[in-house]
Structures are given as C-alpha cells and as structure tokens.
Amino acid sequence: MPTQELLSPKLQERIKELMASYPKPQSAILMALHLIQEELGWVPEPAQAQVAELFGMPPQDVTTLVSFYYMYHRKPVGRYVLKVCKSISCYLCGSQNVIDHLEKKLDIKMGETTADGQFSLVGSECLAACTGAPCLQVNDRFYENCSQERLDELLSRLRGGDSHFPPANVSWQPPKES
C-alpha cells in the first residue's frame, strides 16, 4: 500500500531533528507521535505508516505504541477533549458522577464525540491532581473539583467560545474560609 503523504514537509523536518537529538534515533518515536497529534489532532493509520518509514521500523511497531498509550488518539476527536480521571482518588470523590453528568449533558457515551465536533469524552488514568478530585483535563488544561455546577459552567464557557477556559497552568483554588 503506498503511504499517503500526511505529514507536512515541515513536520517531517521537525521529526528528523528530534531523531538526531537522541543517542538512539528510535527514542524519538513517542515525541514524534505527539508532534503528529498536535498537527493532525489524532494519529491516523497512514501517518503511523509514514512515521514508521521515517524511522525505518516496521509499521506494526508504531501501531503497538499508539494503541498502548491512550494519550494518542486513533480516531478523530472533537475540539475539546474532556479527559476525566478515573483513578482511585477521583473515583472516591465521585468521578462516576462527573462521567454520568457529562454523558447526559453532551448526549454522548465515553469514547464518543459530539455531532458538532466540539467535545470528546474520554477516560484517563491519574492526572496527579488528587487535591482537586474529581478532576478532568480539557485538552491539556486542568479543571478540578468538578461539581455539577462547575461542569455546567465549563461546558457553557466552552460553548460560548471561550476557548482559553480553563486558563492554562492555573490550578483552581478553593474559596478561602472567612
């Protein structure tokens, strides 16, 4: 099967630079896949085959990586990927309620994307934000203490076009007790 050219020349250049920066070029494969996902939004199979060719490895070895790490999307995803933590702290603090609420509000199931292409709902392992459990990530930005009200607020802000919400690198602080 001829490999479809999915990776832009610029992206290929960046991947080659990455390869050169490791003692063993194949060490760069995970970073290269992140770059691809950054550009395409997901890692389609032709892109896997093409990156395998760049690295000189059999294509199935890339598939095994992409499918092993859940941070790579093997299907197209929405503009906002909501990654709900399902690990122990969040679970004890009610992550199932978060999932149920989001499934109801977005009218999709876990792993699905809304028809308008705005939201995808996926699960995640521990996000290391247990102080703010239950937490989730919007793409790579944190959103913590997800009560129903806060979830509604999140959805309405995102729907309203506030694409910078929640702000990056700012962890939510609990209101100070007066």
Binding site: M1, P25, E45, G56, P58, Q60, T64, S67
Partner: protein, 823 residues
C-alpha cells in the same frame, strides 16, 4: 523495537564454564547461561511453557513456567527467563510451585473460550494439555469473557481467533526476530490486548505458516488445514521438502491416505525449525485430480490408457529400435538419487548411450570445479556474508532466514546486486571485482572491521553504506566468510577472493542450485561428461563395467543439445522434465502430471511423488536426507526407480537392485562421494549428514563420515510425539492423565473403544494400502491377533474395500518391486 527487546546471549563457541544445580532433587550440570527450563528438559522434567520457544529470545510473558527457587527474595521465578546459577536449588513440583502454576493457568483461562470441540488445535493444544496436567480444575472467574469476531482471516494462509489468544507473543517475536519483517504485533494493552497486523494490511509474509505452527493454542490456524482433521487421526512421517534445494525437514501428516498438512521437523543444521509457506502449503499437488494415474500409450495418434506391462513393452521396444548414440535421457530436479542412479545405469550400462543430462547438469561446470565448502549452518557463525548476484529470498527462503540469523549474531551483510535482503545489507557494492580490488588494496595489518553497536540497516536510524573500503574491511574481520551465489550467475573471481580470505568449512562458497535434488542428480552421474561422483569417465569405466556389465564411457550430448531445436536424437526418456523443443521420433515421459511434452509422447509412465516412496535427496550443501513413504502411490503410479527397473527388465536385464535400499547400497559401494552409504544410516535419524569435502573440491572423495551419528535435539514438548511414530502417546496422556503412555505403534487398550470408533487405522509402517487388513493388538502382552480385534483400514472415507489382506511387515525400504498384476 528490534533493539529494545532482550536478546539471548549467543555462545560464541569459546570455552564455557559449567554450572551445577539441583532440580527436584536431581543434580544437573549445564553450560553457563542455560535457562532453567532447558536444564530441566535435560533431566526429563517437564516444565510447561507457552511463551518460551528455543528459537526465540526469552520474554517471560505467560508465567506458566514458574518454579520455586530456594533462597531467593522472590522464590517464584519464571523458568524460561531465568538463567541457572551455581548451587541453585529448583523445585518444580512442590506446593509453592504447584499453587503458583495453578493460579497462572486459571488466569490464562479467564478469557479463553471453552470451544475445544470446534477448535483446530484440540488434541495438540498446549493450553489444553497443561490445563489437564497442571491446572486447578476449577475457575473462580464468573464474569463475562471478552468477545471478538471469530476466525478473522489476516493473511493468505493465516486465520486469527483473538478470543483464544493467550498473548504469549511467539508469533510477534517470530515476525520481529526471525523473519525480521512486517508482520504481527500486539495492539491495545492490558485486558484489551489483541494480536494483529498493521491495521488495514494483510499478513502476507512468505513465512506466515511458522506463526501458525508455533502458536501454542488455537488462535492462529491455517486456512489449508482448518477443520480438515484431528491431530490424533494423523499419521506422521518424516520427510524432506522438495520445493527447493535447501532441503528443509518436514513431517508429513497423513489422514486417510491424503496429506493433511506439512509441519516443520526441526533440523538445526538445515532449517532451524522453520519452513516457508511455499514448502509448507505446497502439498496440494499430491492429491490433484490432474495427476497421471495410469500408463498411457500412443495408439493411432491418440494417447490411450494401457497396462504397465503393455506400456513398458512399447517403451522398451521403442528404445531398442534406435542405435545407442541416438538415444538420450534428460532428468528434471525432482528425481530422487535412487532414480537418478538407475537412469545412469539404464543409459550408460544398459542402452550404452552417453547422452544423459540433468536439467542444470553442466551449469557452472566449465573449467575447474569449485570448492564448495560452506554449510548452511556456517551462516550462523560467519562474520561476513556476501550475497552475490542471487536472491535467496525468492529462490531459497530457508537460506534467507538463515542469513538473517547470522546477521542477528555477528555477521555483516554485503549485497552485490538487488535482492530480497538488500534492505538488511550493511554494505552494498556494485560488483565482486570492485570488492576484490578494495580487499586487495587494504593494508596488510588491517584486521578489524567496524564495531557494533550502531544501528543496523533494518533498525531505526540504521542505513546501508556503499563505502567500498569499509565493506572490504568487513572481509578482513575473520576468515568466517560465506559467499552465497547462484549456479545461474557464475561470478568471475569468487573462488580467488575466497582463497585470499582463507575460508574454511563450514564457511566459504554456498551455491544456490535450482531444483530440490539438483546436487544429488549430478552426483548420481546424470551428466554427459562425468561418471557418478564427478569421476572422469575413462577412470570410472572399469569399476562400473564390472558392476553393471557394461559402461558407455564416451561423452554425450548435453541438456542444451538434447532439448534444443536441433536435437540430434531419435529416441528419448524424459524424467520429470518439461522442456523439449524438438520431439524425437520416439519419446518416453515419466512424470506426475501430463505436461505439454507428455501430450506429445509415445509412452507416458505415471510417477509417484516424493511422499509416495522412500527415497533420498541431496541438498545444496551436500546433506543427504531420506524421505520416508507416507502414502501408497496414487493410482497405478510407481516410484521413478521402479519404473526404470521394470523398463530394464523389459529391455532384457534383471538388475539385482530391486529395492530402494539396495540401490542406495550400490551407490554406497560405487560412488566415491557416498562411501559405504546405506539406509541403515537413516535408521535412527531421518537425515544423515554427509559433508561436502571438508577441504578439497567436488570430484574428490569426501572424508569417510558415513558412520558418524547425527546429533539432533530431542523433540520439543510442543512438537508432539516422535515423528516416526504416531500420536498415540499424546492422545493417551490427554485422555488418561498421567498414566504411562501406550507403546508407540500399538493401541492402548484403555483407548481402544474411543480410538476405533474414529475408524482409525493403527499405526502401520509403511502405510497400509487402502483396504488392506491391519492388526490391532491390545498392548505389549497381547495374545496375538484374534478375529475380534482385526479391523480394516479404510481408505477414502467410510467405505470398506474388500481387498485381500496384504502382509506389510517389511520396512518400506525393503519393499521389493512388486509384480505387476494384469488388469
């Protein structure tokens, strides 16, 4: 990924220290670096394994091999991934080991479906066997098993059932480590893991059948064998693939007089336990309806069926009609050594004609003979492999895998010309002349090549270099260099370069020849200008005249002359050959199929295939191997040697070599390349390894190696019962737990009812003729056959053929030419 997996340390042949340990109270001494599972096998202690395979690097994926090792922080250790240590005390059967193993099996069975009754592997399934032998018997798992689409075809020959997979990764590791090409991998992770090729692509490796064979469960099955048979219905016969001249060893599994499948029969010296798909699935021609079943004779311009006596009469009369120098014979590479020997005798001894050649007989025979010192095994230990103007991937896939094995160890690959291994080449150079020159120009003290580790060409970031000087340096590393070349493309200066390097057996020149028995036929003297064993005609005349009565020692017409358009001959015998531009006045054809040439022939004699007779072949590195008879000849067909024997009879000579064994013994007494050869050499092993002259040339006698026993490793547990016997032992263990196995070849009385209800012929050696009477005896102290336990072997399904009883007591090799019964 190739680099990242652990590799087993290859022992380089140097001095190795031994380690003594105790397993289940028995002391054993093994080489350092041995795995516990291998040490236990040496003692005959079974440790169940799934992911472990002796030809693959250990991975420790399935954990079923857990054993209890004393004085360890974590006493339960995987025997397949733990190297032995001095003074180690291992328990495989104590309470801790048993409990751990039961737990592992319980976990392995969590998702495994209970579909043994419809699973192809049932009866030879390691999961089934070990569950019965070591399993707990009860599962605490009550949840739903995971479900996948049953039987998904993932390649031309391979069907995958993901539900049955236990994730041992044998197939994945085979593609990665052995075939080193695109293949299967694990997709997803944890409980969702599944095996598959790259999404959307087909698993079409030419070695794909090996993954089916090494799969310990029924996850990978082959399309050809699927639902065809149960393993306990099969009779197993040791044989040799005749697809190409590599001579990979295989087991012919026969069910009701039909070949059900070929399996690999590991021979470390030749095939290393692998087969290519062309060989593995290339058995369908044997039962093809197109096969010739009766002799044909031309009457009034039409080929019509005739009796053997009639056809042989016509053939003999036709050959007698013409002067000896106008009669000739051509053999194709399928012909056995025995057939080739009798063909030479027929032509030179009986008809007095020197016109005989093998299809590729004189290719590469101009001038001085080559020193072909390389053995296939030599590729393992080579430091440099040079593939010169040939493509082993296409012509000899077994050699392709062997070269890759060499590359994984220490060899560097230099490719001259484009071939299937180009992508693995460390260096690619334009021609051998350039390489020789660069080698000659290297400074004398330059002894070292380039040092690894650095990425090899097939690894990420690796690449092929075209640096001629560096390539030449690789040849300087040591004299363990193998040049792989083809007889079709003679290469100037190859021998000279090999001589400069100072190659010694088992390294040196490895010539890929076309056709399974090309080497053997040449050595049998199917040549116009040489006597058998590459002897000079004049020198050999005396010995052969004495033995055969006469010997035409002239030089005759060669293949090109005989099959060309200016064919001077008037009568010809064509054996397994389908090229002939000008038909002589009288033509006799011996073949399996009616080729275009056979359609023009005056007499067509149906020959038997290699599984229907006992015969020997000589492979490309000079190893002589025996194919055992697995089937009775199809229809009225006969082995080539029998046809030639009978033809000689009609021509007025009754030869004393009326069995294959006698022919081979005569070869042993006359042919200097086969000193004292005898079928007895094959008694214990199916393959006998004679060597090409260790030093010296073709044409000089080999060292007398005839009596040397052949070392072959014991059959691995997953390879089943010994190939020469039946599956009785395995079945009895399966059904009767740990009771002692039945005596091979005899039915276990406990199993009798079960077995006979399957209308199963008792193991008979050679295979009984359909309808013949066979005897089932009830164990070692059986009182002898009684009417109650006599059964008919049933051929072709559930029909009983009322044929007279045939005594089949002799070993197949001693089966004499039987009288032809007139219809």
């Amino acid at each position: 990924m190739l680099q990242s997996r652990p590799r087993r340390q290859e022992n380089g042949g140097g001095l190795m220290s031994d380690v003594t340990l105790t397993i289940d109270g028995q002391p054993v001494t093994v080489a350092k670096g041995t795995l516990i599972v291998e040490a236990a096998r040496k003692l005959g202690i079974e440790i169940p394994v799934y992911c472990y395979h002796p030809k693959l690097a250990p991975v420790g994926a399935c954990r079923v091999c857990v054993v209890d090792v004393e004085n360890q922080r974590r006493p339960i250790m995987p025997a397949c991934a733990t190297e032995v240590m001095e003074g180690m005390v291992v328990h495989t059967r104590n309470a801790a080991a048993t409990r751990a193993r039961e737990g592992v099996i319980e976990l392995l069975l969590i998702n495994h479906p209970l579909d043994c009754p419809v699973c192809d592997r049932a009866g030879e399934c390691d999961l089934q066997d070990f569950t019965l032998r070591y399993g707990h018997g009860q599962s605490r798992f009550t949840e739903t098993k995971r479900h996948f689409e049953k039987s998904k075809q993932i390649g031309k020959e391979v069907i995958l059932d993901r539900e049955r997979c236990i994730m041992c990764m044998r197939c994945v590791r085979f593609c990665d480590e052995v075939a080193m090409e695109e293949g299967l991998t694990i997709i997803e992770r944890g409980t969702k893991s599944e095996i598959g090729p790259f999404p959307g692509r087909s698993f079409d490796s030419q070695f794909s059948g090996n993954t089916v064979e090494i799969c310990p469960v029924g996850a990978l099955t082959s399309r050809s064998y699927r639902f065809k048979s149960r393993p306990w219905e099969l009779q197993n016969y040791a044989s040799v693939c005749n697809g190409c001249a590599t001579g990979c060893n295989l087991t012919v599994d026969v069910r009701y007089y039909e070949v059900a499948r070929f399996r690999s029969r590991c021979n470390d010296a030749i095939d290393d336990g692998w087969l290519c798909d062309r060989g593995r699935y290339g058995y369908k021609f044997i039962s093809s309806p197109e096969r010739l079943k009766k002799p044909l004779v031309r009457k009034d311009g039409q080929l019509v069926e005739a009796t053997w006596a009639e056809a042989l009469e016509v053939a003999a009369a036709g050959l007698k009609k013409f002067p000896a120098d106008k009669v000739g014979a051509v053999a194709g590479p399928r012909l056995s050594n025995e057939g080739g020997w009798l063909l030479t005798r027929l032509m030179r001894g009986l008809l007095g004609s020197p016109n005989l050649d093998h299809r590729r007989g004189l290719a590469f025979r101009e001038g001085e003979p080559l020193k072909l010192t390389a053995k296939i095994e030599g590729l393992d230990t080579a430091t440099a492999i040079v593939v010169v103007g040939c493509d082993p991937t296409r012509t000899n896939p077994g050699i392709d895998l062997r070269i890759k094995k060499g590359l994984r160890r220490q060899a560097e690959l230099i490719c001259i010309g484009e071939n299937g291994l180009s992508g693995y080449a460390d260096y690619r150079v334009g021609s051998l002349a350039e390489l020789s020159e660069a080698y000659a120009n290297l400074p004398e003290e330059e002894k070292k090549g380039l040092n690894y580790p650095r990425p090899r060409p097939w690894e990420a970031g690796g690449s092929t270099s075209t640096d001629l000087e560096k390539a030449a340096k690789v040849l300087k590393k040591s004299n363990r260099v193998v040049f792989v070349f083809s007889e079709d493309h003679p290469v100037e200066g190859l021998e000279a370069l090999a001589e400069q390097i100072g190659v010694e057996a088992p390294h040196g020149l490895l010539m890929l020849v076309a056709g399974a028995n090309s080497v053997g036929l040449r050595e049998m003297g199917v040549l116009p200008v040489f006597a058998p064993g590459w002897q000079k005609l004049a020198e050999a005349k005396e010995a052969y005249s004495t033995a055969w009565g006469a010997f035409a020692s002239g030089e005759g017409a060669d293949y090109a002359a005989m099959t060309g358009s200016s064919n001077p001959l008037q009568a010809m015998v064509l054996v397994a050959e389908d090229k002939l531009e000008k038909k002589p006045e009288f033509l006799v054809v011996l073949d399996l199929f009616s080729s275009a040439i056979a359609k023009q022939a005056d007499v067509v004699l149906p020959a038997s295939s290699f599984v229907e007779q006992v015969m020997t072949m000589t492979n490309l590195d000079g190893t002589v191997q025996l194919c055992r008879q697995a089937l009775p000849p199809l229809g009225e067909s006969l082995p080539d040697w029998q046809i030639l024997y009978r033809l000689a009879e009609k021509l007025g000579q009754k030869w004393d070599t009326d069995t294959a064994a006698k022919i081979f013994a005569q070869i042993g007494s006359l042919n200097p390349l086969y000193p004292a050869a005898s079928y007895n050499d094959f008694q214990t092993e199916a393959a006998v390894h004679w060597s090409y002259p260790q030093q010296g040339k073709i044409g000089t006698p080999r060292a007398d190696l005839s009596g040397i026993p052949v070392h072959r490793p014991d059959a691995a547990p997953w390879m089943g019962a010994p190939d020469t016997g039946s599956k009785v032992e395995r079945v009895s263990r399966l059904l009767a737990g740990d009771q002692p196995p039945a005596v091979p070849g005899q039915l276990d009385p406990r199993q009798m009812a079960t077995r006979l209800s399957l209308v199963l012929p008792v193991v008979q050696d050679p295979p009984p003729v359909p309808g013949s009477r066979i005897t089932a005896s009830a164990g070692p102290q059986a009182p002898g056959p009684s009417p109650a336990n006599r059964y008919h072997a049933i051929g072709g399904g559930a029909r009983e053929l009322p044929l007279p009883a045939v005594q089949i007591k002799q070993t197949e090799a001693e089966q004499p030419v039987q009288e032809v019964t007139e219809a």
